[in-house]
């Protein structure tokens, strides 16, 4: 290991970075909270409006559900993707760093892409 990287330094140097990151992150959070109002849903007391809106975190599944059967969209594909993720340390050893990265990136881009598709074209 690089001797500089393995050199031991006091914890305070990490703490200083922690404080700076914390303040920056809290600044972003307060900025978002103050600047972008979170709307309430449609009241359950008024006449029902046609809403079949999934939260954005499940947008990809909702997009698939609108096109493919439930068993495939809601169970097989998400569970298969999760299994691939969980097993990454083991199959990554066999296929090597490059292919592990490419597979992970492809999987992530597909799900992120479907989420964006749902959000903007769903």
């Amino acid at each position: 290991m690089d001797p500089i990287k393995s050199e031991k330094i006091p914890l305070i140097e990490l703490q200083v970075r922690e404080y700076i990151s914390t303040f920056l992150w809290l600044g972003l959070l307060f900025g978002l909270a103050a600047g972008v109002k979170v709307p309430l849903d449609s009241s359950p007391e008024v006449v029902a409006v046609s809403v079949a809106k999934a939260p954005w975190v499940f947008g990809a599944i909702q997009w698939l559900l609108q096109r493919w059967p439930v068993w495939l969209s809601a169970w097989v594909l998400p569970l298969l993707s999760t299994a691939v993720l969980i097993a990454l340390p083991w199959w990554g050893r066999k296929v090597g760093k490059k292919w592990a990265w490419i597979s992970f990136l492809t999987l992530s881009l597909v799900w992120a892409g479907l989420t964006l598709l749902y959000l903007f074209m769903g």
Binding site: A33, S42, S43, V49, V51
Partner: protein, 208 residues
């Protein structure tokens, strides 16, 4: 845990000295720590919301009053919402960073699996929070989720245990509230502590 035990756990998580290499910004991008910070903000704002929020039929009305009539109520709700969204994004980016730097390699496999579980639970927490908003959108989302669970063998019981009896116009139920604030949040909190403990044990940097 006795005093000696808690002291040694604290020193394990916060050692007096750390390796210089782990301090590089590019080693972590601080994403794990920022995810934990989001969880802390979510816990604090969640406790504040609990003073006023009523699950079930009054969910939408209580949030509406909290938003419009309570001083800083809207801000607290907004902080809770945005911290939740930022947590999902930062946990995902943290996973991308871990794969990029191959931090899932031997000795850290269990921590990778814990991380994947944390990501899944964070997404479910976000979903359960969405249902607790109590409006028509949450009712529709609860109906979809309940029907998906029911499509599994034995799913009817699972759906009732997790969702309770939501109406199509309101997804907020006492069951969902208990899952959101106690069970799911409790498991996520516990798994995070385990995650940090394992990171130190594998010689990696502390979470932030």
């Amino acid at each position: 845990m006795d005093k000696q035990g808690s002291n040694s756990f604290r020193k394990h998580i916060r050692p007096q000295h750390i390796r210089a290499g782990t301090l590089r910004f590019r080693a972590t991008f601080c994403l794990g720590g920022l995810s934990f910070l989001a969880f802390i903000v979510l816990t604090i704002t969640g406790v504040l919301l609990m003073f006023y929020y009523e699950p079930g039929d009054r969910a939408f009305a209580s949030l509406s009053e909290l938003d419009s009539a309570l001083p800083y109520g809207g801000l607290v709700r907004s902080l809770h919402f945005w911290a939740g969204q930022l947590m999902v994004v930062s946990v995902f980016l943290h996973m991308v960073r871990v794969v990029w730097s191959r931090a899932y390699r031997p000795l850290r496999e269990l921590n990778w699996v814990t991380g994947v579980a944390l990501f899944g639970l964070t997404v479910i927490l976000d979903y359960s929070g969405y249902l607790l908003r109590g409006g028509q959108e949450s009712g529709a989302a609860a109906s979809v989720g309940k029907n998906l669970l029911k499509s599994l063998p034995g799913g009817k019981v699972l759906a009732t245990v997790f969702f309770g009896q939501p109406s199509p116009l309101n997804g907020s139920t006492l069951s969902m509230f208990v899952w959101h604030i106690f069970i799911l949040a409790g498991i996520v909190g516990f798994l995070q502590m385990f995650h940090f403990w394992r990171i130190r044990r594998s010689g990696g940097v502390r979470p932030l």
